[in-house]
C-alpha cells in the first residue's frame, strides 16, 4: 500500500552493497545520533563508499572523507543516500 511512497524515498545506506558508492541525501535520526553522524562527516552531499561488512553481518565499514568508519545497521538505516555508479 505504501510502496509508492516508499519508492520515491531515496535508498538507505544499509541497503547499499559492499563496494557500492553513494551520496548522502539526508540523515533521519533522533537528535543525538544525527548529531554524532554529522560530526563524523556524514553531511548532505558527501560521498560514501561501503568497504565491507563484519563477518557476522553487522556492522558495516564505510569510507567517508578519506577515513574508515563503522556503523551498525540501526544507524546506517537512518542515512538516506543516492546511489552513484
Amino acid at each position: 500500500m505504501d510502496t509508492q511512497i516508499m519508492d520515491r524515498q531515496p535508498m538507505r545506506l544499509s541497503e547499499l552493497e559492499t563496494g557500492g558508492r553513494g551520496r548522502v541525501v539526508k540523515v533521519e535520526a533522533d537528535s543525538l545520533i544525527r548529531r554524532r553522524l554529522m560530526e563524523m562527516g556524514i553531511t548532505r552531499g558527501e560521498a560514501l563508499f561501503v568497504d565491507k561488512v563484519a563477518p557476522l553481518g553487522d556492522p558495516m565499514e564505510l569510507v567517508v572523507r578519506g577515513y574508515h568508519l563503522s556503523l551498525r545497521r540501526e544507524e546506517s538505516a537512518c542515512i538516506r543516500i543516492e546511489r552513484e555508479l
Binding site: E39, M40, T43, L56, D58, P59, R65, L69, S70, R72
Partner: protein
C-alpha cells in the same frame, strides 16, 4: 607559568606527542569526578632573547567535537573555556585532515592563541599527501608545525613555537583579531548577531565567553552552554531569540541550525584541505590494506580474533602466574619469618596474619594487571582493538553491549579485577557500567579451587568435571541475562550509537606500551591498594577476634607447646605434633571469632539454600568461610579447612581430608554442595574486584549495588538449584 592544552581527535597521535613533549616527567590522574585520565607535565623551554619559559602541558581527552554530548567532550569543552588555558595546541592527523579540521573550527571559535601540530606527516607522505604549511598557517591564523610524535620529529620546533605564542599570549596581544574565524553566510551570521545582542544583556555571561562564540554554541546545541544560559538572568530573552533564530533558519535555509553549522564547518575543512594539499605530489593509489583484508576476513576474521584472545589470555594469566607465584612465595616466606622470629601474640598475628597477607593480596595483582594493560595498550595503539570491536559487535549487541565489551568479559575468566580496569577502552558510560557490573559473574580462576573441593567431595570425576564446566557456563549465561536486564531497566534511555572510527594500522611504540603498563600498575596500587588493604585487615580482625586477644587461650597454647617439646620426640614427629596443635589453635580462634558469630546470625538466611531440612549442626561454618572468602574467593577453601579442622592437602592423593570431612561431617548433600558452589560463583565480587569497581565507577553507589545484587542473585540461584533439584528428585 603558561598552561598549554593539547586538543585533538581520538587516534590523532596526541598522547605520543604529549609524551614526546614532556618526556617521562608527567603526572597521570583523573579529571575531577570522572574516570577519564588527565595527563599533565611541566617543561622548561628556552626562548631566544627572553630566557626560559615554563609550560604546563595538559593532554585533553581525544574528542571529535566540543558539543559536550559525551563525558570526554564535556571535560574538553569546559577545560578549554577556562581562563587558565593560555594556548591551545590542536593536534591534527595529517592523513585524515578533513575530519580532524571539524574540531578545529570549534576550537578557533574559543578565540585563544593557537598552535597547530600537523602530526604523523610521515604517514601522510607515504600516501602521497604533501602539505603547504605556509598557506595552512595563513588560513588558520596560527603557526603550523609538522610533527611525527612517536619519533620525536618536529618536537623542538613545536616547543619553540608554543613558547613564542605563549609569551605573546601572556602579553595579551590583540586576542580579538587572533586566529581566523569560520564564517557562516549572511543568514546564519545575522542570527548569531541577534543572539549576541541578547547575550550581552548579561554582563557576567558575556565576560565568560565571547558573545559570538556563545551564540554559535547555543545554535549548535552545546549542552554545557545551554545549561549556563539556564542560570542567567537574561535567560528568557536568550531562549526566546534562540527559538526565533532556529525557526527563521529552518524556514529560509531548510535545515535546523545544528545541521547548517556542521555543514559550514565541514565546508571550511574541505576548502582548507584543497588549498593546502600540494597537488604536484598527486597521490599514488593507496595500496589496498592486505593486513586488514585478512584480519577482518569473513571466515578468517573470527578464528584470528580468537587466537589473539587466547594469546593475550595465556600471556596474562599463565605467564603472569609465574611472577605472581614468586610474589606469593615471597610474602609467605616473610609471613613465616615474622611468625617464627617474633614472640607469639596479637602484634605478631596482626603482622603475620593481617598486614603481610593484606599487602600481599594487593601486590599479587600487579603482574596480571600490568601484562593485561600492556596487551590492551598494544592492541589499541596498533588499531586492532577497533577491528576486534567491529568483529564482535553483532554478538555483544545481542546483550545490549558494545563490541569493545567482549575483551573485558573474556579476561574476567582469569581475574575480574584487571578485566574491569580493561573496560577503560569503552567510550560510552552506560556500556562501560554494564560491562563492569556483569563482569564479576564471569567465573575467575580464584573460584576454581572452591569448585574442585566440592566437586571432588560430592561427585564422580566425570560428573565433577561437568559441574566445574557448568559453573563457567552459568557465569557467562548470567552475564548475558544481567547485561540485557540492566540495559532494559537502568540504562534504558541511554542509547549510544555505535559510530566508531577504524583508525589505520600502526606499529605500536614499545616505550609507550611500557609507560602505559607502569602507569596502570602504579595507579592500581594507589587507588585500589588502600581499599584492598583495609578490607583484608578488617576480615583478619573479624576472623581472629576476640579469640586472639584471649589470654587463657594463648596460655593454653603455650602450655601445650611446651608439653609437646618436653616429650623429647624425634624431630619430624615433634614438628608434626606442633603443626597439629597450631592448626587446632587456629580452629579454636576461628570458631569463636566475630566471623563465627556473624555466621551464626546469618545462618537463618542461608538455611533455605544450604540446609533446607534444618539438620546441619555445622551450617554456621558456611558463613565463616564465605565471609573470609570476601578477601579472595580461594580463601573459602583454606577457611573451610580451619573451621572443619581438616587439612587441605592429602597424603594419599585421591580425596583430601577436607573433602572427606565435608562429605561426611558437614551435613551437605550433593545438591546443597552444588548450591554452595553456585552461591560462591555469584555472591559478591572479591575485595580486589570491589576495589576496582569503586576505582572505575568512582561511585560507592554502584559499588554497593554490585555487592547487593550479587548477594541477592546468588541466593536466588542457589535456592532455585535446591528447590528445582528436589522437585526433580535429587538430593
Amino acid at each position: 607559568m603558561v598552561t598549554v592544552a593539547l586538543a585533538g581527535n581520538p587516534n590523532c597521535g596526541k598522547t605520543s606527542l604529549f609524551n614526546a613533549l614532556t618526556g617521562a616527567r608527567h603526572h597521570v590522574g583523573n579529571w575531577p569526578g570522572v574516570t577519564v585520565e588527565r595527563r599533565s607535565g611541566t617543561i622548561m623551554v628556552e626562548t631566544p632573547g627572553h630566557g626560559a619559559i615554563e609550560l604546563e602541558v595538559v593532554d585533553l581527552p581525544g574528542t571529535y567535537s566540543l558539543s559536550a554530548k559525551t563525558e570526554d567532550e564535556r571535560i574538553a569543552a569546559s577545560y578549554l573555556s577556562e581562563p587558565d588555558v593560555d594556548v591551545i595546541v590542536n593536534v591534527l592527523d595529517a592523513s585524515n585532515l578533513e575530519r580532524n579540521l571539524f574540531l578545529t573550527t570549534q576550537l578557533l571559535e574559543l578565540k585563544k592563541p593557537m598552535v597547530f601540530a600537523l602530526n604523523m606527516v610521515d604517514d601522510a607522505q607515504r600516501q602521497g599527501l604533501v602539505f603547504d604549511l605556509e598557506t595552512m598557517s595563513q588560513l588558520l591564523g596560527g603557526p603550523v608545525v609538522g610533527t611525527v610524535g612517536n619519533r620525536g620529529e618536529g618536537i623542538e620546533e613545536l616547543k619553540g613555537v608554543i613558547a613564542r605564542i605563549a609569551r605573546t599570549a601572556k602579553e595579551d596581544v590583540a586576542r580579538e583579531q587572533g586566529p581566523l574565524r569560520v564564517t557562516y553566510g549572511p543568514d546564519i551570521e545575522g542570527e548569531i548577531e541577534k543572539l549576541s545582542v541578547e547575550i550581552r544583556r548579561d554582563e557576567q555571561l558575556a565576560a565568560r565567553m565571547l558573545p559570538r562564540t556563545l551564540a554559535i554554541r547555543l545554535l549548535d546545541g552545546a549542552v554545557d552552554t545551554l545549561a549556563q544560559v539556564e542560570a542567567s538572568h537574561a535567560r528568557k530573552a536568550i531562549q526566546a531569540q534562540l527559538g526565533l533564530s532556529a525557526r527563521h533558519l529552518e524556514e529560509h535555509l531548510g535545515a535546523d541550525p545544528e545541521t547548517l553549522l556542521t555543514e559550514h564547518r565541514y565546508g571550511f575543512a574541505k576548502g582548507l584541505v584543497l588549498e593546502v594539499l600540494d597537488e604536484s605530489h598527486s597521490a599514488p593509489a593507496v595500496p589496498a590494506n592486505r593486513l586488514d583484508r585478512v584480519l577482518t576476513h569473513r571466515f578468517l576474521g573470527i578464528p584470528i580474533f580468537i587466537a589473539i584472545m587466547v594469546a593475550v589470555y595465556a600471556l596474562t594469566f599463565i605467564v603472569g602466574a609465574i611472577p605472581q607465584e614468586w610474589i606469593g612465595q615471597g610474602f609467605e616466606w616473610l609471613q613465616g619469618f615474622v611468625a617464627s622470629h617474633l614472640p607469639p601474640g596479637e602484634l605478631t598475628s596482626l603482622l603475620a596474619d593481617g598486614l603481610i597477607p593484606g599487602v600481599g593480596s594487593v601486590v599479587v595483582f600487579l603482574p596480571v594487571i600490568m601484562i593485561l594493560m600492556g596487551c590492551i595498550s598494544f592492541l589499541e595503539d596498533s588499531g586492532y582493538m577497533a577491528r576486534a570491536a567491529f568483529i564482535m559487535d553483532r554478538l555483544m549487541h545481542l546483550m545490549g553491549l558494545h563490541g569493545k565489551s567482549f575483551i573485558p568479559l573474556i579476561m574476567g575468566m582469569g581475574c575480574n579485577a584487571p578485566a574491569i580496569q580493561a573496560t577503560r577502552t569503552i567510550e560510552s558510560r552506560s556500556d562501560r557500567l554494564i560491562t563492569i557490573l556483569v563482569n564479576p559473574l564471569i567465573s575467575c580462576s580464584a573460584r576454581l579451587p572452591v569448585y574442585i573441593l566440592f566437586a571432588g567431595a560430592f561427585f564422580s570425576p566425570f560428573h565433577g568435571a561437568l559441574v566445574v564446566v557448568g559453573m563457567h557456563v552459568l557465569g557467562f549465561a548470567l552475564a548475558i541475562v544481567m547485561g540485557k536486564l540492566l540495559r532494559l531497566s537502568l540504562f534504558r534511555r541511554e542509547h549510544t550509537p555505535f559510530v566508531m572510527e577504524l583508525p589505520p594500522y600502526r606499529l605500536p611504540i614499545f616505550r609507550t606500551t611500557l609507560m602505559h603498563m607502569w602507569e596502570k600498575g602504579s595507579v592500581f596500587l594507589r587507588k585500589a591498594g588502600t581499599v584492598i588493604f583495609a578490607g583484608a585487615t578488617l576480615v583478619w580482625f573479624l576472623s581472629h577476634y576476640p579469640g586472639l586477644g584471649d589470654r587463657q587461650l594463648a596460655a593454653d597454647y603455650q602450655r601445650q607447646t611446651s608439653e609437646i617439646k618436653a616429650k623429647g620426640l624425634p624431630e619430624a614427629e615433634e614438628s608434626a605434633a606442633l603443626q597439629d596443635l597450631d592448626f587446632a589453635h587456629q580452629g579454636r580462634i576461628m570458631n569463636t571469632s566475630f566471623a563465627a558469630r556473624l555466621g551464626a546470625v546469618v545462618q537463618s538466611i542461608f538455611r533455605p539454600i544450604f540446609d533446607p531440612d534444618h539438620v546441619r549442626e555445622d551450617a554456621w561454618k558456611d558463613g565463616v568461610a564465605l565471609t573470609a572468602g570476601f578477601v579472595a574467593k580461594e580463601i573459602v577453601v583454606g577457611t573451610l579447612a580451619i573451621v572443619h579442622q581438616a587439612k587441605e592437602e592429602s597424603d594419599t592423593g585421591e580425596v583430601t581430608p577436607l573433602q572427606e570431612s565435608i562429605r561426611k561431617n558437614s551435613g551437605l548433600t550433593p545438591l546443597t554442595a552444588l548450591a554452595f558452589m553456585v552461591f560462591t560463583l555469584i555472591y559478591t565480587p572479591c575485595l580486589g574486584t570491589v576495589a576496582m569497581i569503586k576505582k572505575e565507577t568512582m561511585s560507592w553507589k554502584w559499588t554497593g549495588f554490585s555487592i547487593g545484587y550479587g548477594l541477592m542473585l546468588g541466593w536466588l540461584l542457589a535456592w532455585l538449584v535446591v528447590v528445582g533439584g528436589r522437585a526433580l528428585g535429587f538430593n
